[in-house]
Symmetry: C2
Subunit: 350 residues, 2 copies
């Protein structure tokens, strides 16, 4: 049932470079540990990239977009048309992720997996036409086998392009009205949690709207209860095209040894799904930010993830991860370019 | 007693630009509030700079260095010689703040206010020779009137240079072995807190070392009890040259209408001192990061400050603030360059 490529062995970080980087951090002109998480990041990247001097110059951002049949249940503050409209906005460079990608000099690609009204030939967008969005998973499985496999494969294809372009870091972004409902449903099924714990306002629901959204998820989980026999079946029954693509991309990144900077709520659920489908992939993940979407905390805890930023963002598109890229870059610059105690003739501690 | 310039009126942020920026944030193609703190930052900077399109291109960093007589009480994990050695390291570009300033394209100046062994003519360093460090405030006042006033004025002079260079943002950094002891003592006196609450390991004391450091502060507070009659006298009796310079710089920045990005423990104590000397200056402050030094939390709370980053850093030099600059830059880029709903023909919420 699961495609063969999902079982390709994962790359392992370079433990020699990890040790060398840890040693170097103790030699730089600063009290030991004084750069906090920046030290951990530099050591992580040295090990992941197998380099004494890690770098995050080439950043690859793939934004995966798709519509969700569950929007028929009135679970979003924005109309479904926004998914397609935002794909056009991405193509014209007007969205948040465009602005951030430009400021980073990052490569940005947009993958339209399928919208309610099919889009064609938008400049700079790849249209995969997996369907007019997913089906309404409050009534039927969200995806067919073929759709779910194609979406996973779409994510893998993005990572292969990133790898071919010698990317130092992969970021996946999401766009899809209704996708916090799908992501919360997936997380409930994976973590055996109650919908009310993991359901939030998304783009801006009222408290009544959030309660309704949790009820929709509760009904959906009951409906598919007997079919949710594996992480893959959970993904197929409750997921979205873009969430499956993110999941596939994260697994492929770990297979290629390409570090991933996970974004917010949607992408962290995809990261959890990836870890369940291919245990060990999370070793390649860093986490850009802690989303304001309340369910994010539980998903992060399940991955033992500590995000770099906590700025109350809840936009998706990969925007929180993109914002954190300069933290990684500066961690590398400090690791690579600071003087050692010996080089600078500075006394070490008493 | 207090120099006349401390009472120059403060500039006020531009409330029209603030309103315009707040409105613009609601028109950009994102759910309202979805950029979290980035929205607040853009609005703050638009008001502070009086510009519809705020920017943080020209960043000015002044690192203030000085020695502390209190090191005679054995309160630091590093020898006093490190202050002078690090000034040389700054001049050669090997310290963390050099690496960060280069990556930002920031102007970096180093002000040596006075070290135990006097330094002269180090390239790129301004030597002010206020004395061989402060006096040991466990025995006598840390600074004479003349020294304290000259240190405050040195900070003001840095801001005047930054202002003349059309800086968009001012960052002050600190270097001085022993300065967490001075900063903790100042905070205890300003906030009426017990030393044990605000004393931490600094560059790396053991728990026993921290207890001893708190006892030294306790004795110093007792010694000067009757003299600590005003914020200025607290600064003079317990402060350091670099802390007084930072205090002066922050007050001058608010007078010039130059936004300040405060760094960590030492600089936040200087920010609190500045607010006590010239109430209202804190309106011009942003806070770069939450230091791992445990006393920082209480000082931040006293200023109702919410730092942008929390990455376990505790280095000083302005490094945590420098790390946060790209967050401000990206907040400006998003505010200035994202498309509006109307421009992108994206539907607004239901």
């Amino acid at each position: 049932m699961i495609p063969a490529w999902l079982t390709i062995p994962l790359r392992s970080p370079d433990l020699q470079q990890e040790d060398a980087a840890r040693l170097r951090q103790t030699q730089l002109t600063k009290p030991p540990g004084a750069l906090g998480t920046l030290e951990t990041l530099a050591i992580f990247l040295a090990a992941a990239q197998g380099r004494a001097r890690p770098q995050v110059e080439q950043v690859w951002i793939s934004v995966f977009a798709g519509d969700h049949g569950i929007t028929a249940e009135n679970i979003s503050a924005f109309p479904q048309a926004v998914t397609a409209e935002m794909i056009k906005n991405f193509s014209r460079g007007g969205a948040a992720i465009n602005v951030l990608a430009r400021s980073l000099g990052a490569s940005l690609e947009v993958i339209d997996l399928g919208t309610a009204q099919a889009l064609t030939a938008i400049s700079g967008v790849q249209h995969l036409h997996l369907g007019p969005g997913t089906a309404n998973f409050c009534q039927v499985p969200a995806m067919s086998q073929a759709q779910c496999l194609a979406a996973l494969e779409a994510g893998r294809a993005s990572v292969m392009r990133a790898h071919a372009a010698a990317a130092d870091l992969f970021i996946g972004g999401d766009m899809g009205i209704g996708n916090t409902t799908s992501a919360a449903a997936l997380a409930c099924a994976l973590l055996q949690r109650s919908p009310i714990d993991l359901t939030g306002p998304g783009t801006g629901l009222s408290p009544d709207g959030v309660r309704h959204k949790a009820e929709v998820i509760e009904r959906s989980l009951m409906l598919h209860k007997l079919a949710l026999t594996s992480p893959y079946q959970i993904l197929r029954h409750l997921g979205g095209f873009e969430i499956a693509a993110l999941t596939g991309s994260y697994i492929a990144a770990a297979q290629q040894g390409l570090p991933v900077l996970v974004d917010g709520f949607i992408t962290t659920v995809a990261a959890l799904m990836a870890e369940r489908l291919a245990p060990g992939v999370a070793r390649w993940f860093l986490y850009g930010h802690h989303s304001a979407e309340p369910g994010h905390t539980a998903i992060l805890a399940a991955l033992r993830a500590q995000p770099l930023l906590s700025l109350g963002m809840r936009l998706g598109e990969g925007s929180g991860a993109a914002l954190a890229v300069t933290i990684l870059r500066q961690a590398c610059a400090l690791h690579n370019d600071m003087a050692t105690f010996a080089e600078a003739a500075v006394s070490n501690r008493l």
